[in-house]
Amino acid sequence: MDASTWVPTRTPPNLLARLFDYKPFLICVCLAPALGLLLVFLTYPLGLGIWLAFTDAEIGRSGSWVGLENFDSLMEDRVFLNAVWFTVFYTAAATVVKFALGLWLALLLNHHIPFKSIIRAIILMPFIVPTVLSAIAFWWIYDPQFSILSYVLVDVLHWRDTYIDFLGTPWAARWSLIAANIWRGIPFVAITLLAGLQTISPALYEAALLDGASPWQRFRFVTTPLLMPILAVVLTFSVLFTFTDFQLVYAITRGGPINSTHLMATLAFQRGIPGSQLGEGAAIAVAMIPFLVLATLLSYFALARRKWQQGPENE
């Protein structure tokens, strides 16, 4: 046989090959790993948590169905109601400041400033330090005796006569935690908004400049509307992260003093694990779900994609 007479031989595909060519089978095989992961790591724990919320389970006792009893008792539980209130306040206060400072930093970094990359690296730092480690650092910063803030204010600047008891009184502790959360959350906001700012074409600013817009007008009429879509996404994520915060509070105050800084997440853990009331802890965690759904829906509808972004090409 030479090159001119050779033809490729075609062998009929075997059973396995034909099975994998069968589309419904292929779809099932390809979906199985993802579905399995979702079931094991998402659906099962979430389902179990919701189930536990309706039982009187304790650690070591599987518990039985009690209906809404857990929620009924929570409704009259001052510590729980206080935790709900503080969670909402904590989220609102921290988010407002995080966005104000984050946007300001992003705008700053979007310009040509000296040492830009170093500043960018410094800004990212709170993000790369493990939260518990930074929480311990804050614990020191807020220490009644060894606080560096107190030291600077009292011994260096002489602005105060007494050391500040950051974590000993309810309001001081609340603001201290909010400050720590802001410090922790700014990098996420600043870096994502910076990415958003960089998608805005410089030509638009030049056009606005020639149209006679002042710096404030360029921010108001060009930057803000064009940044809105990404702002909405970042806002949603930031609210979700802040609302479900656990590490900072648990590492710095553990909910104290006298339960004044409990977030819903820390209270759920406190009641469920150290307090061994699994059912009640689960009920507190489940009570967060409506708030989270509400926050997501709000940003989805109020800040959803605008008409100029989507829709049919020609209407």
Partner: protein, 350 residues
């Protein structure tokens, strides 16, 4: 409407100088095109007129007023950007009205001016659309509309047609020219496309590597290019160049010889570059032999890629050519339309 004077303008980015002293005078109502290859500094010069880049040295005056230190919005100019720079979140109406709103014009004036501009540009049915719902040509028109409503002293265009397809480009070319003839606003237009420059300009400024090579009316540049660069840049297909010497009343190269133009005194014995435009070759029985390589009939004319000795040559004939590739044709240039350039300096000799 106003004049624009560019006097010994230099521009440096750091230690790199990109414009080496440019002088251009734009008359009132004139349509001036800055043309040149990428990186020649033409867009930088335009942005300096707009005030988007500062002027390293020299001065730019608009309407007799030196604007070196005048903010862009005070210069009374309007610019059309290469990518149009339309505000994506504003409708066509709001895009055009934006500058008027910032200037706090009364609503009646705004709607009147926007309406009139939309009318001129045929945009009235699209006023409530967003830029993404428009075609390339419509976006281009909105960008012009945004410039028109401001009624500026000078229009600046930065390669406005380069994002359009070939057919639309020809159409918009005519529209821009028509618009200029109606509005008679002084216009400075940047392009790298010499056809655009030739068809639209009252005056062309050919730029190359940060210098002005020649300034003149389109046909002036075509008929009498001042140097080799302009000769090669203007005209399509490009001019043929032959390197050789002038000896005893004729131009000699590669053992062949070509007739000299009449007005070329004092070039005897000199090393020169001889230039002939493709369309200035004629079929002639007493011409020189050229071996045909490729024939490109376009209907109205036939382009022939051939070789004279070892030098490639492009000819464009009105006649139909029957020669086949590999065969010889006899061609001769029209001596009145031949260009001679100094071999060293590239400066025109005749």
């Amino acid at each position: 409407m106003a004049t624009v004077s560019i006097r010994s303008v230099r521009k440096a980015f750091g230690s790199t100088e990109v414009l080496h002293g440019v002088d251009v005078e734009v008359q009132d109502g004139e349509f001036v095109i800055l043309v040149g290859p990428s990186g020649c500094g033409k867009s930088t010069l335009l942005r300096m007129i707009a005030g988007l880049e500062n002027i390293t040295r020299g001065e730019i005056a608009i309407g007799g007023r030196v604007v070196n230190n005048v903010a862009p919005k005070e210069r009374d100019i309007a610019m059309v950007f290469q990518n149009y720079a339309l505000y994506p979140h504003m409708t066509v109406r709001d895009n055009m009205a934006f500058s008027l709103k910032l200037a706090k014009a009364p609503p009646a004036v705004i709607s009147d001016k926007v309406g009139r501009a939309a009318d001129i540009l045929g945009l009235t049915p699209y006023l409530d659309r967003y830029p993404r719902q428009l075609s390339g040509g419509q976006r281009q028109r909105v960008a012009m509309g945004r410039a028109i409503v401001r009624d500026p002293q000078v229009f600046l265009f930065d390669e406005p047609l380069s994002n359009l397809d070939a057919k639309l480009r020809v159409q918009m070319r005519a529209e821009i020219k028509d618009l200029h003839q109606r509005l008679k606003t002084t216009t400075v237009y940047v392009t790298h496309d010499q056809i655009e420059a030739m068809t639209m300009a009252d005056k062309i400024v050919v730029m190359h590597a940060g210098n002005v090579e020649q300034i003149g009316a389109p046909l002036e540049l075509y008929d009498r290019p001042a140097n080799l660069f302009v000769a090669g840049f203007i005209g399509s297909p490009a001019m043929n160049f032959f390197k050789g010497r002038v000896e005893s009343g004729a131009f000699r190269f590669d053992g062949a010889q070509l007739p000299l133009p009449r007005a070329a005194p004092g070039v005897n014995g000199a090393s020169v570059i001889y230039g002939v435009r493709p369309e200035h070759w004629q079929l002639s029985a007493d011409g020189i032999d050229a071996v045909v390589h490729v024939l490109e009939p376009t209907g109205s004319e036939t382009q022939v890629m051939a070789r004279i000795a070892d030098t490639p040559v492009v000819c464009a004939f009105r006649e139909r050519i029957t020669a086949q590739p590999g065969e010889s044709i006899r061609i001769a240039p029209d001596p009145a339309l031949v260009h001679l350039f100094d071999e060293k300096t590239g400066v025109r000799l005749n």
